[in-house]
Amino acid sequence: MIQWRERYIYLFMMVFCLVLLFIIPSQLQEGGPRIAPYMALGIIALTSVVCFVRCLRGEEKIVTFPKKVLSILGLIVLLYGIYIFAIDVIGYFVLSVLFIAVVLWILKVTKVKILFISTLVPLFIYLLLGGLLNLRFPNGLLM
């Protein structure tokens, strides 16, 4: 079992606020442009501290995952990330076919459905958005 503890979210937020405290003066022009970022910083810092204290008092949410769940979910998220970052190189439609097929295979959908859906959905998007609305999706290798 893998555990995610709520307190780490608030701890991260508090560290983030400290970093932001140094970033704002170096990144932002003085005066007006700093009003909203400092307002946000104040709200995040205050609420993070309060929530962190509550966690220490025992009012903490702990999320548990079986290792297998997190590894399969992580794999699909990773594939989605690769899909997004590779669109420019390989192309949207080619990758969509591959992505849908692989995810359906991971989720144990029948082969016939995999073949049918992975080709039909990108084709529908291509006809509707590419053909009708003239949207130009990155073609990558097809160029």
Partner: protein, 509 residues
């Protein structure tokens, strides 16, 4: 005036104009229903084509598309918690809960009724009170906008439920995220870290799909895997899970509809008022309508799967679809993005909106009014039966829907601005949203902060620039003061109420 009305009706009721309005409704509904796509995008893409049409047909078709899109956005929001449009995000709060209870049909039809009633009220207001409301909106300056948005921030109290601190944390993150990009007053980039793409800020559609649709998809994947592991341990074969979209519970009773009338009309009023104010738009109206609905509804399930919670935001956001033309037609000021696009369409036709439009192009204005009413009726009739088709898709396998929605999320996000940076932003926010949801930190509060901050910041800084006494300037503005007082009363009464609830709990323990 009478002659103008007759001429306008004659213009509108030509067969091919009626067909164009119907086409607008259908296209808008489809565009709105696809997560990430929106009728706004459709209007923008169709705008060059309207040059070939008559002014009445062009504007009527575009407004029909907008109306269809506003309702269409609620379909995906209710069924998958993946709002097709940002305006439908509030509808998903209760709508998706109803889907989980197997009442998606009810929810969609309630949304349609809310949408049609809100739109009709907005349209009637536009026709009868355009001049008067525009005059009232002229009295609103930056201090009033600051006060209104401060009041809107109290919506966090509604969406955070009992996790108030988590709600405000999310609001803070939303405010911070909205400050990335060009400063709304000076135009200087903020937090761009040398990146050209970052200097434009994050696209609303990318943040919206990332925070609302993707986390839900990830959660669905997690549930599917958990189920499969459970089944594997029990050594039993299990069919693919089905999304619970039941045809059986799509019937709305008259009693249920009647029960929502107070919420419906009040929220439609809120939406009409917000629509008449330039720059606020349907998303803010939807959240304000939802919050108003929560205040007046007697339904204890509000926020947990209530028809009132579906009717309120839909009535409010659809009221904007007509009311946003009040400042446009009467003053020449576009109320929101869609109104700006319609302004573009009018300009293409050589018509200048503003007080003179009623004098110079009276017949066209009344023709547009007739087209808008026709669009409302068509939207209702078409979608009442189209919904049946949607509900009949009751054997959707989650495993199949997951990758399809993921691919559509990319298509929708990319299509809005046609750049891959938005898609990467959407992915990053999807991960953030998933983690926040896991710990009960409401992403809706984050969205409220993200959507409202630009207007709030601009208005606040304009107020400070206008005044010598700093924030004391608000005491010279009665309307702003009233909104600030309402905000304070809302916050204080919420704290008193939650304290009383906590004390009650400790006594019972």
């Amino acid at each position: 005036m009478g002659a103008d009305i007759l001429a306008g009706l004659e213009m509108m009721f030509q067969p091919h104009h009626v067909l164009l309005v119907f086409l607008g409704v259908v296209l808008g509904t489809v565009m709105g229903a696809i997560p990430g796509l929106s009728s706004t995008m459709g209007i923008a893409l169709l705008l060059p084509i309207t040059f070939t049409l008559s002014p009445v047909a062009a504007i009527a078709m575009l407004t029909a598309m907008y109306k269809g899109g506003l309702f269409g956005g609620s379909i995906a929001s209710i069924l998958f918690n993946a709002p097709g449009t940002s305006a439908a995000a509030a509808t998903g709060i209760d709508g998706y809960q109803l889907t989980k209870q197997g009442k998606s049909g009810k929810a969609i039809r309630m949304a349609l009724i809310g949408s049609s009633v809100g739109d009709l009220i907005g349209c009637i207001t536009l026709i009868l009170l355009a001049g008067l409301i525009a005059k009232a909106a002229l009295m609103f300056g930056p201090p009033e906008y600051v006060a209104i948005i401060l009041f809107a921030f109290t919506m966090v109290l509604g969406v955070a439920d009992k996790a108030l601190m988590k709600g405000f944390l999310a609001l803070g993150i939303g405010i911070l995220i909205s400050t990335v990009g060009y400063d709304p007053v000076t135009g200087v980039p903020r937090f761009e870290f040398g990146s050209m793409e970052m200097s434009s800020g994050f696209s609303l559609i990318a943040v919206l799909i990332g925070l609302l649709a993707l986390p839900e998809v990830f959660r669905q994947i997690e549930d599917v895997i958990r189920e499969k592991i459970k089944d594997h341990k029990g050594k039993k074969e299990k069919a693919e899970q089905k999304v619970d979209v039941q045809l059986g519970d799509s019937k709305l009773t008259w009693k249920e509809v009647k029960g929502t009338r107070k919420v419906l009309f009040t929220s439609a009023g809120v939406g009409t008022f917000i629509g008449a104010l330039p720059g606020l738009g349907p998303t803010i109206a939807a959240f304000m309508g939802y919050r108003t609905g929560k205040k007046i509804s007697k339904d204890p399930n509000y926020g947990k799967g209530s028809l009132h919670g579906v009717a309120a935001p839909e009535a409010a956001n659809s009221a904007v679809a007509s009311a946003n033309l009040i400042p446009l037609l009467a003053l020449g000021i576009p109320g929101d993005v869609e109104a700006a696009l319609i302004l573009g369409a009018l300009t293409i036709q050589g018509i200048t909106p503003g007080p003179q439009i009623f004098v110079n192009n009276g017949a066209i204005v009344y023709g547009i009014y007739a087209g808008m009413i026709m669009a409302i009726i068509m939207n209702f009739v078409f979608n009442w039966y189209f919904v049946r088709g949607v509900i009949k898709v009751k054997n959707i396998s989650i495993q199949i829907m997951v990758p399809i929605i993921m691919v559509l999320c990319i298509a929708g996000t990319f299509g809005y601005n046609q750049n891959m940076f938005d898609v990467k932003v959407m992915f990053a926010f999807g991960l953030l949203g998933y983690i926040l949801n896991k710990f009960g930190i409401p992403t809706t509060a984050l969205l409220i902060g993200f959507i409202l901050t630009p207007i709030f910041e601009r208005s606040l800084r304009q107020t400070l620039a206008l005044s010598d006494n700093g924030l004391l300037f608000f005491f010279e503005r009665p309307i702003a003061l009233v909104f600030i007082a309402i905000t304070l009363v809302t916050v204080v009464s919420y704290f008193i109420k939650s304290r009383a609830e906590n004390n009650g709990k400790s006594v019972s323990q």
